[in-house]
Structure formats: structure tokens, C-alpha cells
Amino acid sequence: MSNETTNQKPKLNLAIYWGSACGGCCVSVLDVHEKVLDIVAAADLVFWPIALDIKYKDVEAMPDGHIDLTLFNGAVRNSENEHIAKLLRKKSKILVAYGSCAYMGGIPGLANFTVKEDLLRRVYEESESTLNPEKIRPLTEVKVPEGKLTIPHLYNTVRCLDQVVDVDYYIPGCPPQSERLVEVFSLVVSGKPLPPKGTVVGALEKTNCDECKRTKSENKKIKKFYRPWEIQDDKVTCFLEQGVICMGPATRGGCGVRCVEGNSPCRGCYGPPSTSSDPGAKMISAIGTMIDSNSEEEISKIIEDIVDPAGLFYRFSLPGSILRRKVV
């Protein structure tokens, strides 16, 4: 992006918001380093809670469609997330689900393997570091002399952004690669035609193995599954062929296979390619065919080595998958 082109155009209004998120996505925006100057040259940041003191009421006061581009990161997990998601949808021309949590539910989405009550009991009563003999739970409403205080209430089910509001584009990643953000941002600024609504942008079409430099063969025969720390990785051979579960084949490329380049198996944060609706199910099917045994007994034993399979295969994708949540 060059300053000449941006100078000729009115500045864009850009908003960045976090729902149920860790903050990593907001930090990834800063991770563009000196390119952040290009961004602020081309856009006014009208709302970004992590960095700017702009209140919700300021957003509510904006006319509809006032914001050109909103990057919404984080899942929708409580009434506040939902309220702001709906508000930003109204105020934004383009709403982008930014990062794995907004896109598919992400790590917070793993809460869908349990229910709210079990979760609160664990956190406020049972966790090893909790001392709460009166079993006090947070209340969504409390009366104090000055009046009534409210906090958002927690939902039983974590949802991804498009399960709550209409979403224009998706940028996957935990967090998204900053370079990809710059590409997408530049495209919006350039005024060139945008891809069709609903497109996953800032990512590749093929899955990670396509870019992965490790040697791959059809010899994916697994007698024992290893967690990465349990074996000496040879740094050359496909992780799956070494018995380490790598989500690479089921995960859209675009990250630059960073984890594998760092000798760690892919965890699946970029989500499924367009041809697959459920990366967890796809990967479980694939892994199933790799187990090198025909004896039911031996297979059960081999599978026991996969610690927390649901959490492993759906680490980033549970709310947005066909599975969505544990049925209770």
C-alpha cells in the first residue's frame, strides 16, 4: 500500500472489537509493525476497546453504516458479546469475523463440551486454587446503595459470529497472520472489487500439507500415537507418519505452516477448507484409516493414546462445526 493512493481518498472508518477472546487478535493488529502507520494513514480507528477509550454509547450514537470495516474477534458467549455484535453489524458496512474464535468459536468454544452449571461449579467451587466456602457465584444483577449494578450474563452455548449476525468475510487464525491482515486491509482501501460475500479471506484454498516442506508418503501407518514431547522428531518426516497427530491435512493453509516450521504439529487454527464442513470429523476419519491394526482390541488400545480426542480434533472449531456442542 502506498501513501499516494490513500491520500486521494477519504479515510476509512475502522473498528476492531473483541468478544469472548484472549486479546491475541487485537495484538496481531499491532503485529503489523511499521505497517500500522499505513493503516492509520488510510483509516481512522473509530472503536477499539483494547487501545482507545471510546465508549459503547459513542458507537450507539454513530449513524448506521458509519463504520466501513469492522474486525470482530472473539466468540459470542455472553449478552454483552451478542449486544455489541448486533450493534456493530448495524453500524458497519463490512463486518469481518476476525480470528478463529469469531470464525468458528475457537478455544472458548470448547466450553460447548460442557454446560454452564458444570463450568461455574468447577471455576467457583472446585478448582484447586479456589477458596469459596460460601459457594458465592457471580450475579448478573446486584443492588448497592447507589442503585442496581448489572453485568452481562453468560450463555450456556458459545457461538461463532455468524450464528449471531450476518457476516461478510472471515479471516481465520489464532491469531491471523498479520501479513494476511495487511493484504485484506489494502484490498478494502484500494477500492478494488471485493470477493463474494461469505468468502474466507487472508488464507489459501488448499490445506497445509500443500505448503509443508516435510516429506510425505502414503505410508501413514500408525501403531502408536505420540504426543509431541514423547518422541524425538526427525524434523524431516510428516508428523503423522511419525505417529504425532497433525491437523495440517484438514486445515486451510495461509499461516505459512508456521507451527510445523517450528517443529510443532498443526493445531488446526485456520479451520477447514471450503470443501469440508467439519474439520474434526474429517480428521477423525483420516486418522481412523491410518491406525495400523485390524484387531478391535488393539485398535482400542492404540486410540487410548489420543488424549482428549474431542478437544484435539475440534480445538478451534466446535461451535461452528456440525457437532456444535455436547447434547445435554
Binding site: 488448499k206 490445506t207 491435512p249 477448507p273 470443501t275 469440508s276 484409516t289
Partner: protein, 577 residues
């Protein structure tokens, strides 16, 4: 995609369905669904008027999708596909809901069964919406046939095909044609001469203008697919020859079981304990004699050696009871005063003329002694110095309940048949499967006993399972007829619902390659993608299921079709979270 216009037909199947399912309620309920133009019910959808109803509606209402709720698609899917085709729509734009076997026949509550029928029909409607037209495909057929094995089955098949004017390449591993049967002396139950039967067959095969015989030859690798196979053979150190052919018959036979491992019988230890194969050779030479060249005065024939016993083979070899009875006739003729003992576990005489043969044999002044397979085998030991015989069989005689000793000078072991040594190489070369007993697996155990799941590959004779000569010949002629039919047609249809790889999505992980049971998938190193050979593909769907990138689609079983079907079946009872 054009707007789906779906016609739904609910069959009464007389009272088979209508007794337990309210067919009127089903057609009423589903008629409300989007894209459903009409929903009817009729007494017999498979009847001519039933099919006419569909054809008339397709034309009159411009239907482009059809659902029939009736019996199992195994019975009438083809019927209704043809009706669709007749009316001018692609036969794959049809879906069947099974409301008989999976509903009316298995339920007793009419309202529940009706509700289930509605669910099943909705599933079919939701699925058919996403059906795509598929085109029938066929490949040309090379008129030559490769037959592996020059025994009776292989030769009969070769003659059938050769006599019809088509080329046959007959491959035989040994240096002569005829297999085991050519070594036999007489054949049961008519005591006819094997050699008189076999010699003309062998001569006709050897002199046949359409049959090329390759002796001392083995097949190591066959490539290609139905209609278009090739292999290279090496004959006696000559130049390798390349053969092309459209069909394959495997007739590799079985080999006799080696009884050395059965310690009770002392085969290998006692020289006068011989196998049925060795005894057959003795008969061919014209003289029954012991190791010392003497005529045996006591001969025992032990049945089920290596058969029907979990320690050896669990299966019955089907022929040895009759061969054992045949020996009685031959021994009695040669040694009128010898004592003959039939030491058997069960007498199996199920074939044509076999029971009569058994009855005839009982008049030959012989002694039948029964043992219990589950309760310890007879045991052969050397006779004592004073005994008037070479060996003693100790056994618990089942019918009398007595422990007895049987004096014998010669023991014939009726050995089972088992897979030939090179069976695995044959299986690998022609791409068929083996059962647990190492017999070749037929396509259907009842209805297709000579074809295999690999198109163009047939199995005949004992390699498919132990059998006698007439059964082997029947199979050989059946396979020949099947092959001649495809040659006559000139082309043969190949699977329509195959899998294909979307090269734009394949990441080259190669997970799919080893899961394909038909070796239809290979990795293209230049393009870095997997490729499906659609002629080899049988559409089993394994690769589509395993592909982690969703790059492989099984035609007619796409994710969209299956997920829509599931959503359809859940739509009435499942309302989300």
C-alpha cells in the same frame, strides 16, 4: 441449478406397507414441503400402471426429481430409475425411501410407523434436491482372455472360449497340463478312468488354434482394468512376451494338505502311512504294495486328515469321503482277501449318485469304524514283534463305545486341500481378495459365485473353495459364458458413482492411497495431487470418507447430499439446541 420440481410417490405394496403406514397421511404431509410439486400414493408403484403414473407426471408436471417410498432400493431402484429415464430425466435424479423393510415390516405401532415413514420420505426429498445427473460410462473389451492354471477348470474354460473363436492365453506353472485330476486313476462315483477323460481334453487344448499354452510360466504382475489388462510373461528364459487381454480367469487350484504335523498319524515316520495323493500314484502304477514290496493284508483309510479340525483346517474338503470309498473298490479288486477299514468321522455323500455309491461300497465286505473329531484322533503305533501286522491303530470307536486296536499294514490318509504356495502372489497380481481359509472370495456367495469384486476377474475351480470335478467344470463354463457375453457386447459398463479428486483442493497428503481396496488411486508427483482411475474405482466411498481436506467427492454420495438427508430425517423431531 434449475429449480427442483419433485414428485413423491408412496407405495402401498398391497397391504405390506399400507397396513402399518398411513400412506395417505404420508403423502399429505410431504406435499407441503418446498419443491414438492405433487405427492401421491398408489397400490403398487412397481407395476406398469405405477411406473406409468411417474412417467405421465414427469412429462405433465415438468418434474425434474422423483422420490418413491416403497420397498428396498435393492429390489426396485433400477425399476424406477428406468421409468425416470423413459420419461426423459436422468435416472440418478431419483431417490428411494425404504418404508417397507425399514418401517412397515418391523413396527407394530401404526402412528409411530407413519411418523417414521414421513421422516424417511423427507430425508429422501431433501437428498434428491441435490442429486446431479450422472452419465453411464463403458470401456471397450479386448477379446482375448488370460487363464491362470491349466487344471481341469482352466482347460474347460479355455476350450469354451477358444471354441467360440476367441483368443485364450493359458498359463500353467508346471511343465504339463491336467492339474491334479490328470494324476488320478479312477474317478468317483462311476469308477471311470481319469486318464481317458483328461487325455483328449489336454490334446484339444494343446492343438487348439485359439489357445496359446504357456507352460512353466507364472504371472507376477497384471496391470490395467476390465476389458484392458496387460501382463508380461517370461517363458523358459526366452524373450519376455507382452500379452493384452480383456478378462482374467483364475483357476490356480489347491494343493494337498501335508499331514506331517499330525503326530497321531506318524506320517513320515511310518513308511506305510501314505497320503491319498501317494496312493493314487500307486494305483496309477497298477500295484498296491508296502515299503517291502508286499501286498498289505490290512488296509485302513483315515478320513478328514487336516479337515474339520480347528488345529488344521476347519473346513470340509468335500471330495475325500467319495475318494475314500472309491479306494475300497480299487483295493477290493486288487486284494480280494484284504481287510479294509474305513476310519471316518462323518460320511458325507451329498452329490449326485454319491449316496448310491456309498451304499454300493458297504457291500464290499469292509469295516466302518467311526471316531470323534472333537474327542481325540486315532493314533498309529508300530505293531509289537508278535503281532501279525505292521502297525496298530488305537482308537475310541464311537458307535460301539469301545477302545479298540486295529491291525494295519498300510494306512491311507485322506488329506484335505489347501491354498497353493503362491496364492498371495496371484492375489496381488490380479487384485482379488482371500477369505480366512485363503480361498478366493467370490462377488456374491449365492448369486455371483464366479465373478469377483474386481471387474473382469473371475475365479473357477478349487481356488474358490474345495469342490469336485463337475462343480469345477460348471464354474469354468459359467465364467466362460460371462466373459463371452462381455466380448460379444464389445464394451462393458463401469461404475457410474465413482470418486474424483478436486485437484484444486488436494493437498497431497496421500492418506487416500492406501485405503483404496481397488488400487484405483495413485499420487501424481508432478502435480502433487492424488488421482482416481475412474475405471478401477468401484465407488465404495472409502477415499471420500478419509480425505481430510474434503478434496475427494464420491459421486451420488456428496457431503451435501448426505448432510441434507440427515437434516431431512431429523427435521420433524429435532428442533436444534
Amino acid at each position: 441449478m434449475e429449480e427442483p420440481r419433485i414428485g413423491v410417490y408412496v407405495c402401498w405394496c398391497g397391504t405390506n406397507i399400507s397396513k402399518m403406514v398411513d400412506v395417505e397421511a404420508v403423502s399429505q404431509e410431504v406435499s407441503k414441503l418446498p419443491h414438492v410439486v405433487l405427492a401421491k400414493n398408489y397400490k403398487y408403484m412397481c407395476s406398469d400402471p405405477g411406473q406409468e403414473l411417474i412417467i405421465k407426471d414427469i412429462k405433465g408436471h415438468h418434474l425434474n426429481r422423483v422420490v418413491v417410498a416403497a420397498c428396498s432400493p435393492r429390489i426396485h431402484e433400477l425399476t424406477f430409475r428406468k421409468a425416470c429415464e423413459k420419461a426423459g430425466i436422468n435416472p440418478y435424479l431419483f431417490e428411494m425411501a425404504n418404508v417397507r423393510e425399514q418401517d412397515s415390516w418391523v413396527h407394530t405401532d401404526r402412528s409411530e410407523a407413519t411418523r417414521k415413514a414421513i421422516d424417511l420420505v423427507i430425508a429422501a426429498i431433501r437428498r434428491v434436491e441435490f442429486h446431479e445427473p450422472l452419465e453411464k460410462r463403458s470401456v471397450s473389451v479386448d477379446p482375448a482372455t488370460l487363464i491362470i492354471g491349466g487344471g481341469v477348470s482352466g482347460m474347460i474354460a479355455a476350450l469354451e472360449i477358444g471354441n467360440a473363436g476367441k483368443k485364450v492365453y493359458l498359463i500353467e506353472k508346471t511343465d504339463r497340463l491336467g492339474g491334479h485330476v490328470a494324476k488320478f486313476d479312477l474317478l468317483f462315483p462311476h469308477l471311470s478312468s481319469s486318464k481317458q477323460m483328461m487325455r483328449p481334453i489336454i490334446q484339444r487344448v494343446e492343438n487348439h488354434p485359439n489357445i496359446d499354452v504357456f507352460l512353466n510360466t507364472q504371472i507376477t504382475d497384471v496391470s490395467g482394468y476390465i476389458g484392458n489388462f496387460t501382463t508380461t510373461i517370461q517363458v523358459n528364459g526366452n524373450e519376455p512376451a507382452k500379452l493384452t487381454f480383456g478378462n482374467i480367469i483364475a483357476a490356480v487350484g489347491l494343493k494337498p494338505f501335508d499331514p506331517s504335523g499330525i503326530t497321531e498319524y506318524g506320517y513320515g515316520k511310518f513308511p506305510d502311512v501314505v497320503t491319498s495323493i501317494e496312493f493314487e500314484e500307486m494305483l496309477s502304477k497298477g500295484k498296491i504294495f508296502t515299503k517291502y514290496g508286499k501286498e498289505p493284508r490290512n488296509v485302513a483309510i483315515i478320513h478328514c486328515v487336516g479337515s474339520r479340525n480347528k488345529n488344521y483346517h476347519e473346513y470340509c474338503s468335500r471330495t475325500c469321503c467319495m475318494v475314500a470309498l472309491k479306494y475300497v473298490h480299487q483295493i477290493r479288486a486288487a486284494l480280494p482277501s484284504a481287510n479294509i477299514f474305513e476310519v471316518y468321522a462323518d460320511m458325507r455323500a451329498y452329490g449326485k449318485g454319491h449316496e448310491e455309491f456309498y451304499a454300493l461300497t458297504t457291500h464290499k465286505q469292509i469295516i466302518f469304524l467311526m471316531f470323534d473329531q472333537q474327542d481325540g484322533l486315532p493314533r498309529i503305533r508300530e505293531a509289537d514283534r508278535n503281532d501279525d501286522c505292521n502297525m496298530i491303530i488305537e482308537m475310541d470307536e464311537k458307535l460301539s463305545g469301545l477302545s479298540i486296536e486295529v491291525p494295519v499294514d498300510m494306512v491311507i490318509l485322506m488329506v484335505n486341500m489347501e491354498a497353493v504356495d503362491h496364492v498371495k502372489e496371484v492375489v496381488r497380481a490380479i487384485g482379488v481378495s482371500l477369505c480366512g481359509n485363503q480361498f478366493f472370495i467370490e462377488k456374491h456367495p449365492k448369486l455371483d459365485p464366479v465373478a469377483t469384486t474386481t471387474g473382469g476377474v473371475y475365479i473357477v475351480g478349487t481356488c474358490q473353495g474345495p469342490k469336485d470335478i463337475p462343480d469345477s467344470v460348471a464354474q469354468a463354463k459359467a465364467a466362460a459364458a460371462r466373459i463371452l457375453a462381455t466380448i460379444a457386447t464389445g464394451t462393458c459398463p463401469v461404475e457410474v458413482t465413482t470418486a474424483f479428486v478436486n485437484e484444486k483442493m488436494c493437498c497431497g497428503c496421500q492418506t487416500c492411497i492406501s485405503v483404496c481396496p481397488y488400487t484405483a488411486i495413485s499420487y501424481n508427483k508432478e502435480k502433487k495431487v492424488s488421482e482416481v482411475n475412474e475405471v478401477l474405482c468401484k465407488g465404495c466411498g472409502t477415499c471420500g470418507g478419509t480425505c481430510p481436506a474434503g478434496a475427494i467427492t464420491s459421486k451420488h454420495f456428496t457431503d451435501l447430499q448426505i448432510i441434507s438427508e440427515i437434516e431431512g430425517i431429523m427435521s420433524m423431531s429435532y428442533k436444534g439446541f
